[in-house]
């Protein structure tokens, strides 16, 4: 963990030093890629379909929802928190969108806005619960709202999925530019925005500070509560955005959408090198974590692995991916 941030910090190191440590520098900078590359090579050898453009676009498309949720999840984890409610927020946002557009006939463009807004508001609630009630850990507030939002999604819809979304709403999750899925482009754009946000804005740096040492952050005059509220709001917003992509992918808004998605998102963040204890983690690492999960699922499907074996393999690879990273860092010292 620690070494990684160090490396990130060393992004600005003098040129001559960079040259000296050139290989190491690159190897470490792109270290989180190691697992992904090894995995990809293995799959390319095992399955002839893996490297086809068509399949690579599958992966791009399939990774996008988890990638968006993971980028959102990175924020709470950076503050040494967690957001268990993202799957439920996703479901809640999309069914509300379904109700207002499909059932009430609101213009689809506004529907997009609603989907994001509901996500953000749900996240805001998480943030307010955590900070205003002074709950000891967001595990509680978000475990609670995970149930609440799921329940609300079921109640609103009478447990029935909603279909028949307009193309405008489906666009993000469905369309391609050339052969590249719009959802993947979205992921890249969001990643860049979040990267800048986290590394180049005060709030972004505060997020790291809070995760690194909450008391020191408070004493340094950082508005801890306000930053935390932003963090959970953004996490909710990303869940809403993930929901938008899901609508497009499935042309449906089901109240049981997103079940267990929080686990995949957390896994991506951690595989990507973030620390549960806060203060350490990057957008790029998270993105690679999400790709590892997507590539793995895709590859196992291509190979026709049966579910039970898939489950075992996925479990093993999660551990291995992190272990590769541990080894890499240890060898560095």
């Amino acid at each position: 963990m620690k070494e990684q941030t160090e490396i990130i910090e060393q992004g600005n190191v003098e040129e001559k030093k960079k040259a000296k440590y050139d290989f190491k520098y690159i190897a470490n900078k792109f270290g989180a890629l190691f697992g992904l590359i090894i995995l990809s090579i293995t799959l390319a050898i095992l399955s002839p379909s893996f490297l086809k453009i068509d399949n690579l676009m599958n992966i791009a498309r399939q990774s996008s929802i988890n990638a968006l949720l993971s980028i959102g999840m990175l924020l709470p984890i950076l503050t040494a928190g967690i957001d268990l409610s993202v799957g439920s927020i996703l479901a809640f946002s999309i069914v509300v969108t379904g109700v207002v557009t499909v059932m009430w006939g609101m213009p689809p463009v506004l529907g997009i806005f609603v989907c994001l807004l509901v996500g953000a508001l749900a996240g805001l609630l998480n943030g307010l619960l955590l900070t205003k009630l002074r709950l000891p850990h967001p595990f509680i507030s978000t475990l609670g709202t995970m149930n609440v939002f799921r329940g609300l999604a079921l109640i609103i819809t009478g447990a029935t999925p909603i279909f028949g979304f307009a193309y405008v709403i489906n666009f993000t999750g469905q369309a391609n530019v050339g052969f590249i899925p719009v959802s993947f482009i979205l992921v890249i754009v969001i990643s860049i925005i979040f990267h800048i946000f986290l590394t180049r804005t005060a709030t972004g740096r505060y997020i790291y500070a809070i995760g690194g040492n909450k008391e020191a952050a408070r004493l340094s005059g950082i508005p801890v509560d306000r930053v935390l509220i932003k963090v959970y709001t953004l996490s909710g917003l990303m869940a809403g955005l993930g929901g938008l992509v899901l609508i497009g992918r499935t042309n449906a808004a089901s109240p049981i959408a997103g079940l267990t998605y929080e686990l995949d998102a957390i896994a991506a963040v951690i595989i990507g090198g973030a620390s549960f204890f806060g203060g350490v983690g990057t957008v790029w690492g998270t993105l690679i974590g999400a790709m590892i999960i997507a590539v793995l699922r895709n590859g196992l499907n291509l190979l026709g692995t049966s579910t039970d074996i898939q489950t075992v393999v996925i479990g093993t690879v999660i551990i291995l991916a992190v272990y590769v990273d541990v080894l890499r860092r240890r060898s560095k010292n």
Partner: protein
Amino acid sequence: GSSSITNSSNEGNEKKSTEETKADNLKIGVVLMTLSSEYWKIHMAGAQDAAKELGVEIEILGPAEETLYEQQVKMVEDLISTKVNGLVVTPSLPEAMLPALQKAHDANIPVVLVDANVNEFEDRVSFIGTENYEAASKGGEYISDQLNDGDKVLIVRGQMGAKVHDERTEGFQAALESKNIEFIVQDAQSDRVKAVNIVENVLTADPDIKVVFATSDEMALGSFKGLENKDSTHIPLIGFDGTPDGLQAVVDGQMLANIAQDPYRMGYLGVESAVKAIKGESVEKRIDSGAQVYTKDNVEQRIQEIEGYLNN
């Protein structure tokens, strides 16, 4: 299924299969709702047997849980990438599957839908199955005689919002509509222990429950334990799925009846129809694989059938 219309995409597929693949080198992709339950294992056995008999290669995928409908979509997409010659899909959220199925169709891959239909997907080769709704209402009809106006019935169901359980619940309720029954519906999330707990708790508050219906055998077997714990095994219990354990429970008198579709047959017919479609043979657009309420009277025979399926 009443009409027998020849598959419209036949010709296209025929060309493709003669060009690119030899008839005996076909690969069929099957995507089930999940692979981690007994019901779907039986389904899988049917599909595998069909593949073996027809000499085609088969790849069967399914998510870890029925609720993970988006993963099913991914599996269909991935199978399209591997260039399967035909697809058999049992969509757990049918409408969500539509874009992926369309993609398959665009890639000239014939699609057979099994167990749950996607109404909007006109290009399907066939829909094979019994609607869960109808099957469940058969169960309701069966028990209808034993219920009086205003009686209380407990339904132990799986995850709310999961289409299969929604339909089973609704079908059962619909069959008893005229009786003005008070339904207590509780979600046990397909977990056996939760079913035990629910039955215990509901019977504590409402000892005068007249019938218990569980929307899967896993929960039905749990419900029986709950009844047993409350010394209420006299309350008739109806299960759903017709798994070996569920049928055995009928033999043992633990369940009054078990509603069973025929997963083995569905699995078999699904692959068979897909192969037919690839070869350009005609397939009925709608095949009813049947559903049956099994009671003490007819269960033994069914058990033998199932054993036959699973042991060959």
